[in-house]
């Protein structure tokens, strides 16, 4: 190469590329991060170690809390969809703030991408530089998460990277919203910012700002989010400068490395303390039922069933192996994932449960080995694969991670940590058009963070309060978050009964909202959920939570009812006896197609948003009858299901209070158990009748296609599938489908 190289910015006169290679070599050779067999600060000066850790973490948390006030987007300001982190020069995360911590790992991939692709030479790394990325190919979950990354220099050496991320409300895709569902590839999913330098001397280039503002439907919100990220990074830089002045540069450098090795060791200690070595299988599924959806190109207008055969192996040395071998193929939609997103997703779940939350960093990542098959939705082999709503498959595909951990916790007796899974944060309401002020709007309503948590080991799941990707999230105030942005009034926001899965302990229920379109001159709205399959699964005999559904009403008499001061529906409640349908005249749409394209709405139309509950745990017949009656009294359970699900006969007194009929309940439970005996067969007998059906491929076409894809792409899963059903190699039904 005759390219004139810039002087290296790594430590002791090396390049960052050399530092990264050396770090990887030391880990491969010794199994310790940076080869650190001993931790002089952490082991011999624990108070100093703790002081450094707390000061750095405190700086990150306070930068996040201050900077979020710059943003005008409710997603950042109210829901807290932002996060900051500090990396080593090689891009390994040392510590992080609270918030959407999934990005600690994705931004680590971005730093490594820049190092591996010689950004040190072109454009070079200098103090005051600003870098940006939202590209999944470098490291991200989806393009609405925009990263700002700055280098931190001390005496001519790049000592750390500081990075921040926010989730922006619109990326200018073919359809509106932060995580658009409707585009079919990279090329219509909106803003792509591959890793690049976007500023110098702490100032963002005007050309860059003009570019993204012209792309998004919400330009001002993007601009303020950008200032949020940069301001946070600069605050953290100042804090690190102070820290180094107080403690010395050599101490800081050594601390960063020890913190990661400490994180790795702490993770392995937790694994050995709380889990059991062995193999855990926790598959889940997701539906994209678009065969009859007009508005798609033919390659996207198909029914897709996603297979996520998630498997974990806990090794006897406390390390862990994850595989998604057998995952189905990527498709023409925006729900494909990158390995970086999957790693980030697993990481965000691990640190809510297994890892020590206070000292979490990339150390946990170094204790895990992962396999995501090329060509599958987990690792597309074509850059065309869209990822703008990767969370759709991530939420469902990773649900089993909590089931895996819970099997381990339960076996070790840590039943207080057991959780059956979670409700995915769907339905999502997206929309765009002109709002009540006559101005363009794009909506991503994130009250879907009011999903239900799965049932726990000795208690029901949390109602209306859990989002896997941001456990601190908030549903946002109706008046100050959502009604200000969306030309829709809330007629009501309530707990939706029967959304949590049944069980000895039930899953947490979720929210539902009824919205009235109001003063919009032109608007489209969309349902984004899972209508065909349960994307979670109960644990130990509990049932999965609800699937989504679509309900809307068009050309209604809502405004006449308002003029007459007549009652309006505040919820849909029981979809078999819908309040919306009972109280509102108009053209009603209700079905299990919960994943639509944006559809036109006019003033007076109603949109119902049903969010997902959490899965249940344990046999529902073991639920305390008193708990069932409490659910009836509080509106968590539709009365006819007390008997069907729980065998509880409850009677309502004249005062409206529910009481258990103890004798009738005992008799009903005995009868349900007898029905189980009569209606079940030995599994061997069931398999005998099922086998020829599967062998002959007598399955719905989308199910058969899923198996064909999984068999084609897997190394082991396909063989096991064929062996289980006695399918001969070369069987026409499961012949690998032609490659796209």
């Amino acid at each position: 190469m005759d390219m004139k190289s810039k002087p290296p910015v790594g430590w002791n006169g090396t390049t960052l590329k050399e530092m990264l290679a050396a770090s990887e070599r030391r880990f491969a050779d010794t199994g310790h991060y940076q080869g650190l067999a001993e931790l002089p600060i952490a082991d011999r000066k624990p108070l100093l170690f703790e002081r450094l850790h707390l000061k750095l973490r405190g700086a990150l948390v306070s930068a996040r809390e201050v900077a979020r006030n710059i943003s005008a987007s409710p997603i950042v300001k109210e829901l807290g969809e932002l996060c900051f982190t500090v990396f080593t020069p090689e891009g390994d995360s040392v510590t992080l703030s609270t918030g959407i911590i999934v990005h600690v790992h994705t931004m680590s991939d971005v730093v490594k991408f820049m190092i591996r692709n010689d950004f040190e030479d072109d454009p070079g790394f200098a103090p005051g530089d600003i870098f940006c990325n939202n590209d999944v190919l470098a490291g991200n979950v989806h393009n609405c998460d925009i990263h700002t990354i700055i280098p931190f220099f001390w005496e001519g050496e790049l000592v750390s990277w500081i990075a921040g991320v926010t989730h922006v409300p619109d990326v200018g895709a073919r359809t509106p919203g932060s995580s658009p569902v409707g585009p079919m590839s990279t090329y219509d999913q909106g803003l792509t910012i591959p890793p690049q330098k976007i500023g110098e001397n702490d100032r963002v280039f005007r050309a860059f700002r003009d570019m993204y503002k012209r792309t998004s439907r919400t330009p001002l919100l993007l601009e303020l989010d950008e200032k949020t990220r940069l301001a946070g990074c600069v605050m953290i830089r100042q804090a690190i400068e102070n820290l180094i002045r107080e403690e010395g540069i050599d101490t800081y450098k050594q601390f960063m490395r020890e913190a990661i090795e400490q994180g790795r060791r702490s993770f392995i200690r937790r694994v050995k303390r709380m889990l059991v070595p062995g193999r855990y299988r926790v598959p889940s599924f997701c539906d994209v039922p678009w065969e009859n959806e007009r508005g798609h190109l033919p390659q996207a207008a198909v029914n897709t069933l996603m297979n996520a055969p998630l498997e974990f192996t806990v090794n006897s040395d406390g390390t862990m192996k994850t595989t998604l071998d057998g995952a189905s193929a990527w498709g023409f939609h925006t729900m494909n994932c990158s390995p970086s997103a999957l790693q980030g997703g697993m990481w965000v779940m691990m640190c809510q449960s297994l890892a020590d939350a206070e000292s979490i960093n990339d150390g946990a990542y170094f204790a895990m080995d992962q396999h995501f098959p090329r060509g599958s939705w987990t690792n597309p082999d074509n850059p065309e694969a869209g990822t703008a709503h990767a969370w759709h498959f991530l939420w469902s595909g990773l649900n089993g991670l909590f089931r895996f951990l819970s099997h381990g916790y339960h076996a070790r007796g840590f039943i207080e940590e057991v959780v059956a899974g979670y409700g995915t944060t769907t339905n999502i309401l997206y929309g765009s058009g002109l709002n009540m002020f006559g101005e363009p709007f794009a909506a991503t309503n994130m009250e879907m963070t009011g999903a239900g948590l799965g049932a726990r080991g000795c208690r029901d799941g949390l109602d209306c309060s859990y989002a896997m990707w941001n456990p601190e999230s908030d549903i946002g105030d109706i008046e100050t978050s959502w009604e200000l942005w969306e030309p829709m009034l809330y007629l009501g926001r309530t707990v939706k009964p029967n959304t949590g899965g049944a069980g000895k302990y039930r899953g947490g229920n979720a929210l539902e909202s009824v919205r009235l379109v109001w003063k919009s001159q032109q608007a489209v709205f969309q349902h984004v959920g899972h209508g065909m399959v349960h994307v979670n699964c109960g644990l130990f005999g509990g049932y999965p939570s609800n699937t989504g559904y679509r309900r809307s009403a068009h050309d209604t008499d809502a405004f006449e009812l308002i003029a007459k001061q007549a009652p309006l529906p505040t919820n849909d409640h029981d979809p078999e006896h819908s309040q919306v349908e009972t109280m509102i005249k108009g053209r009603h749409i209700v079905d299990d197609n919960a994943l639509t394209l944006p559809e036109p709405y006019s003033d007076g139309d109603l949109y119902v948003s049903v969010i997902q509950g959490g899965p249940g745990l344990g046999d529902p017949l073991e639920r305390e009858p008193a708990a069932v009656v409490k659910d009836l009294a509080e509106g968590h359970l539709l009365p006819r299901f007390a008997e069907r699900l729980y065998g509880v006969i409850a009677v309502q007194g004249p005062d409206g209070a529910w009481h258990v009929d103890v004798q009738a309940t005992a008799a009903r439970r005995a009868a349900l158990r007898r029905a189980r005996a009569e209606e079940s067969v030995p599994v061997a007998q069931w398999l005998a009748t099922e086998t020829p059906r599967v062998q002959n491929g007598e399955l719905p076409p989308w199910v058969r296609r899923m198996y064909q894809e999984s068999i084609r792409l897997s190394t082991d899963w396909g063989g096991e599938f064929k062996a289980f059903w006695g399918i001969a190699d070369g069987s026409a039904v499961y012949e690998p489908a032609a490659k796209k």
């Binding site: 099997h407 207080e416 029967n498 559904y549």
Partner: protein, 162 residues
């Protein structure tokens, strides 16, 4: 919390702990002897004498038989056979793969579409407790949830003879 006693564990297993007690347990360090205490509690509650090696699900434990066999056993005493073979293959199953069957459990349309997914309820042949529910597409092989490495667990993690 000073000590997580067997009484506390007993209450947790029965779902009788107060929220305050549970929060204290969650906040406390994860004690190294939890497994030993927990296994004692389960052993005292069992209606049979086989030695419990590892609980693998609610109501199901791997136990050591006198003849050396290690089998999956239900609280009711029913035995499913060697733990290395999926216990579900020796269970009874009821498959909900019709609209009517699914609508019994979920108000329509809040349950899965049977052309995409079925619910398989696995029962113990001894007591008809529902031990597991699979939510899988038709034709999905029976899922082997958890295969522990008992030898490594006892020898390397607990430092005990199995």
């Amino acid at each position: 919390m000073s000590e997580i006693t067997k009484e506390i564990l007993d209450r947790m297993i029965d779902g009788r702990s107060s929220w305050e007690e549970l929060v204290a347990v969650m906040r406390a360090d994860k004690e190294p002897d939890r497994f030993a205490k927990y296994r004692e509690v389960l052993q005292e509650r069992a209606t049979w004498r086989d030695r419990i090696l590892l609980p693998i699900a609610l109501h199901l434990c791997i136990v050591q038989k006198d003849d050396g066999a290690r089998v999956v056993k239900c609280d009711c005493g029913h035995e499913f056979g060697d733990y290395r073979r999926n216990w579900k293959l020796s269970a009874r199953v009821r498959v909900r793969n019709t609209k009517a069957g699914i609508d019994e459990l979920y108000p329509h349309p809040m349950g899965c579409n049977p052309e995409w997914m079925e619910l398989r309820e696995y029962f113990c042949p001894g007591c008809y407790t529902q031990l597991d529910v699979e939510a899988v597409p038709p034709g999905y092989p029976v899922v082997f949830n958890f295969l522990p490495d008992l030898e490594a667990f006892y020898a390397e993690w607990l430092g005990e003879k199995i």
